[in-house]
Amino acid sequence: MVDTTKNTQIYTTWGRNVAKPVNPNVAGKIISKAKRPLLVVGSEILNGDHLLVEKTIAIAKKGIPVAATGHSITALIDKDIEAKYINVHSLGHFLGDKKWGGLDGQGPYDTILFLGHKKYYLDQVLSGLKNFTDLKTVAIERHFIQNATLSFGNLKQEVHLEALDEFIENL
């Protein structure tokens, strides 16, 4: 078992509401319990360890639809998963709209999972969701993403990959 909750150091604060550090097994269970989860994958999966792409696909294969932001879609095409390109800023906007049908027309999401994003960018997008929606957001990034509802802490690359494995097991 990997402890992903230890290092939650931050450089600057947004305010008093900060993500709850979460362990992979707990995060996994939360997602599997979600009624309508969405995995939002950013282009950083292409810049890190190539295993990141594999893990992403493994998560998606558990039946979680994927919003592929940036150019992450290039790694997710023809992988037999449900992935669609969307701009993450637009996505943030639509997620807050109860009238949005979702990427597949099946209606709004309730729990949003994030992987493969630039830290500063994701924290900004999440700042919008945190303040203006009641969505549950879960960051399973290498960095502590303070504006999520739940987040892994700051992790070494290898620990992160391990944590993702454990997360996937618990889905």
């Binding site: 150091q9 931050i10 450089y11 604060t13 947004w14 305010g15 008093r16 509401n17 950013g42 282009s43 932001t69 940036g70 150019h71 879609i73 290039t74 095409i77 669609k84 390109y85 701009n87 993450v88 800023h89 637009s90 943030g92 906007h93 639509f94 709209d97 009238k99 949005w100 049908g101 630039k118 830290k119 500063y120 960018y121 900004q124 997008v125 700042s127 919008g128 945190k130 303040n131 203006f132 960095h143 700051n154």
Partner: protein, 803 residues
């Protein structure tokens, strides 16, 4: 009381004083009428003047707030936690406060430009008088932004003063609304943001018109000369005088002195940021060669200073690092401040003799001086540089660490991660340190282009490791090779050029204008700019550059050793690459759009902003890109584009602007306009999808650009071309056909010829469209018709039969 006519007069006993009577109620209208120009409904609009237009835009493009902070700390009732859209002690909620914060940043940017404009205007009027005619090239519409906004058609420098009065009055009104207990509604703050952005373009325009007219800068000149750029083009064996900032007023005196005293060959005059651009524009309108070199942008400031190469640093205003004096002091480089906006606490030496100042600074009695008298400055700066060069040589200033030190420093690192966490882009510094222990410094070198030289890593390191110096030292080879070419800023697009190209733009056969502005804060280094520009130029888009982006673009060469400025011509034609000039030349980008409406489409321009904006919104496929958007100025420039309906994409750091304006393509009722011929409603494609948004990578950006150049007015050829690029770029960079391509198809001729059959099949199969396969025609399916004579407008009153 005596009667006089509108006109020019001189006044008894006050020699050389002239007064232009124009600033009186009704005078704008009267003067305009005399010239046969009608003034539209909103000359010099106040805050509410264009609110209806703003609300029209905002109903389609909703503000998306991504706060940089959950708190408000404006007044002493606070600080207030607004988390979860709570209200603060004054009753404001998070949404309205974020809009207010955005407004504050936008007017800060607009004030920076307006403050610059007022300063240089004042300076130039002092030198050339109020009657100095505005001359910016072969145009009649010399001030499109100014005229559209204020209704004033300026002809002399003096005319520009009234324009500045208006801008300053309005900025003060907007700043007032930032106060606790003023505006309460987010939507009205949004309208104020757009107002501020609009004012910004007027302020910028004034600055550039004034300086182009007086300082011999290129006047709408596609043949503006090429300029050397890059840290590598400096000959550090000569005395080096470095200028940093944006306002070239005082620098011209330095250049004149160097010229008059034949010092040009004996020293290097180099610039950072937009002053650099304007230095290279100075006195080049008659084919003269530029008299200065460009180092680059804000991101090179600390690198350049820390290299120890400059012998004297002169700063003026804007985008100047706050620690210039401290950093320079460490390397015995005297600093001269020359503008009231930046004085660094230095003693005012404006009334002292050049000799005294040179003596005091070269003997290190004081680390620098404030010199507001530009004649004194003109002499002190170059002479001091020459003197300091020798002194600093003899002192043997050692700026960067040696190779051995590089390794030792690497060893000192305890891999704590503070530097990476504090680095704005979280660059991988620790890995570089690790490799550095084994004398492999290549990982430091890799950081060079991505590092904006902000120095935050140095500040963070508990071991006091000078991370930035290490990066710089390891990149010495790269830096030496950093020699490129930039086309000197050409100024605005002339009326004749508009006449030639306007129709192609409006019908879409020139696929669009991509305007690349902003600087420094690139998510992945500066090279991305080059890649984007090259891709779009190859596809026949017109690419317009300005400011720091124009510089960064000049830094890269293709395999043949050519920069894009050499590769592509610089006319206002499809596939051309234009550098309009410095930061304030950004006004020529919006000016171009206004000119298309005014000159090509013959819309009334004076005081008729809404109609012009409506025209641009529906017909001109232009997209702004501020990929490295860092500053408040970039935010105000973007907001000014937005009020004209021009969408802007910023890089991911731009999410910290706190709000985007994004439409919902899935919400059909938002994508409708009137047909001005009869006021009927017609559906339009969801493009532009946004007025301001971010993208994550240039791979994502490229197809976005193509798509968001689509406009209702495209003819079939135009739509076909745009759609082709959208599909091709999606395939090339995202590896797939975009999902929504079919939504932009109105009839078969909108489809690229080569792929038409294939695409028709998809339309039939996946989207259920009816196809007449014999004639290869679409029988049913499209959500809208193709009708080139339709007149799309968002403004009811512009429809036939309306008032």
């Amino acid at each position: 009381m005596s009667d006089i006519e509108t006109g020019l007069f001189s006044i008894d006993e006050l020699e050389n004083v002239q007064i232009t009577i124009g600033k009186i109620v009704g005078a704008i209208e009267k003067k305009a009428k005399e010239e046969g120009v009608e003034v539209g409904p909103t000359p010099k609009p106040g805050i509410s003047g264009l609110r209806d237009w703003d609300f029209t835009l905002l109903s389609r493009y909703q503000p998306v707030y991504t706060p940089v902070c959950d708190q408000c700390c404006y007044c002493t009732f606070g600080k207030c936690d607004l988390g979860g859209n709570k209200e603060g002690a004054c009753g404001i909620n998070m949404e309205a406060h974020q809009a207010r914060e955005t407004l504050l940043r936008v007017i800060t940017g607009a004030a920076a430009h307006a403050g610059h404009g007022r300063h240089i205007l004042h300076h130039l009027i002092g030198l050339y008088g109020k009657d100095k005619p505005i001359d910016v090239g072969p145009s009649n519409l010399v001030a499109p932004n100014t005229q559209a906004v204020t209704g004033i058609k300026p002809e002399t420098l003096g005319d520009l003063e009234e324009v500045m009065d208006y801008v300053e009055e309005q900025l003060t009104q907007l700043l007032a609304t930032i106060h606790a207990g003023q505006e309460g509604a987010a939507i009205d703050f949004e309208s104020k943001i757009l107002h501020g952005g609009m004012l910004d373009h007027v302020g910028m325009e004034v600055s550039d018109l004034a300086q182009i007219s007086c300082l011999g800068m290129p006047k709408s000149d596609p043949e503006a000369p090429l300029v050397e750029i890059g840290m590598g083009c400096i000959d550090s064996s000569k005395p080096v005088l470095l200028v940093i900032g944006h306002n070239v007023a005082g620098v011209t005196n330095i250049m004149d002195y160097i010229h008059e005293h034949d010092l040009g060959d004996k020293m290097e005059l180099a610039g950072l940021c937009c002053t650099a651009i304007d230095m290279t524009r100075y006195q080049t309108d008659q084919g003269q060669l530029p008299q200065a070199k460009v180092i680059g942008t804000l991101a090179k400031e600390l690198k350049m200073i820390r290299s120890g190469v400059p012998d004297v640093i002169v700063v003026d205003e804007q985008c100047v690092r706050a620690d210039v004096l401290d950093e320079a002091k460490k390397l015995s480089i005297p600093v001269i401040t020359t503008n009231e906006k930046i004085m660094y606490g230095l003693r005012n030496r404006s009334k002292d003799s050049a000799a005294d100042i040179i003596e005091d600074l070269s003997s290190f009695k004081e680390p620098g001086a404030l010199i507001l008298d530009f004649d004194v400055l003109g002499e002190v700066a170059p002479e001091l540089a020459i003197k300091m060069s020798k002194i600093r040589d003899e002192m043997g200033i050692n700026a960067l660490p040696s190779e051995e030190e590089l390794q030792e420093l690497s060893e000192k690192c305890v891999q704590c991660g503070a530097c990476e966490m504090d680095c704005p882009t979280n660059l991988p510094i620790m890995a570089a340190m690790k490799a550095g222990i084994d004398k492999d410094f290549s990982k430091f070198e890799n950081l060079h282009d991505k590092c904006i030289a902000c120095g935050r890593c140095d500040q963070a390191c508990p071991k006091d490791i000078p991370v930035l110096n290490m990066i710089e030292k390891a990149s010495q080879k790269l830096i030496r090779e950093e020699k490129g070419l930039m086309r000197a800023g050409r100024g605005q697009i002339s009326d004749p050029e508009i006449r030639e190209e306007g129709v192609n733009l409006v019908l879409g056969t020139t696929p669009g204008i991509i305007a690349m502005v902003g600087c420094s804060n690139y998510p992945n280094g500066t090279k991305d700019l080059y890649l984007v520009a090259d891709e779009m130029l190859k596809r026949n888009y017109i690419v317009v550059m300005s400011g720091c982006s124009a510089m960064d673009l000049g830094m890269y060469k293709n395999e043949d050793g050519e920069t894009l400025y050499e590769k592509y011509p610089a006319k206002f034609l499809a596939g051309n690459l234009i550098n309009v000039g410095s930061c304030v030349s950004n006004s020529h980008i919006t000016g171009t759009a206004i000119k298309v409406a005014a000159i090509f489409a013959q819309r009334q321009v004076s005081g008729n902003y809404e109609e012009i904006a409506d025209y641009i919104t529906n017909r001109i496929g232009a997209v702004g890109v501020a990929w490295g958007a860092y500053s408040q100025k970039a935010a105000s420039i973007a907001s000014g584009c937005n009020r004209l309906g021009i969408p802007v994409v910023v890089g991911p750091h731009g999410s910290k602007y706190r709000r985007a304006l994004i439409g919902k393509p899935y919400q059909k009722e938002d994508w409708k306009v009137y047909d001005a011929r009869d006021g009927s409603e017609m559906p339009i494609p969801a493009s532009p999808e946004f007025l301001l948004t971010t993208a994550e990578s240039i791979e994502e950006l490229l197809p976005m650009l193509a798509k968001n150049c689509i406009r209702p007015s495209d003819n079939n050829m135009g739509r076909m071309i745009k759609l082709t690029h959208y599909m091709e770029l999606s395939q090339k960079y995202l590896g797939h056909m975009p999902e929504d391509w079919y939504k932009f198809v109105r009839m078969e001729t909108d489809l690229p010829l080569a792929k038409r059959e294939e695409l028709l099949k998809i339309l039939e199969k996946d989207h259920g469209w009816e196809i007449d396969w014999k004639r290869k025609k679409i029988l049913s399916g499209p959500a809208m018709k193709s009708d080139v004579s339709a007149q799309p407008t968002n403004v009811k009153r512009l429809c036939k039969g309306e008032c």
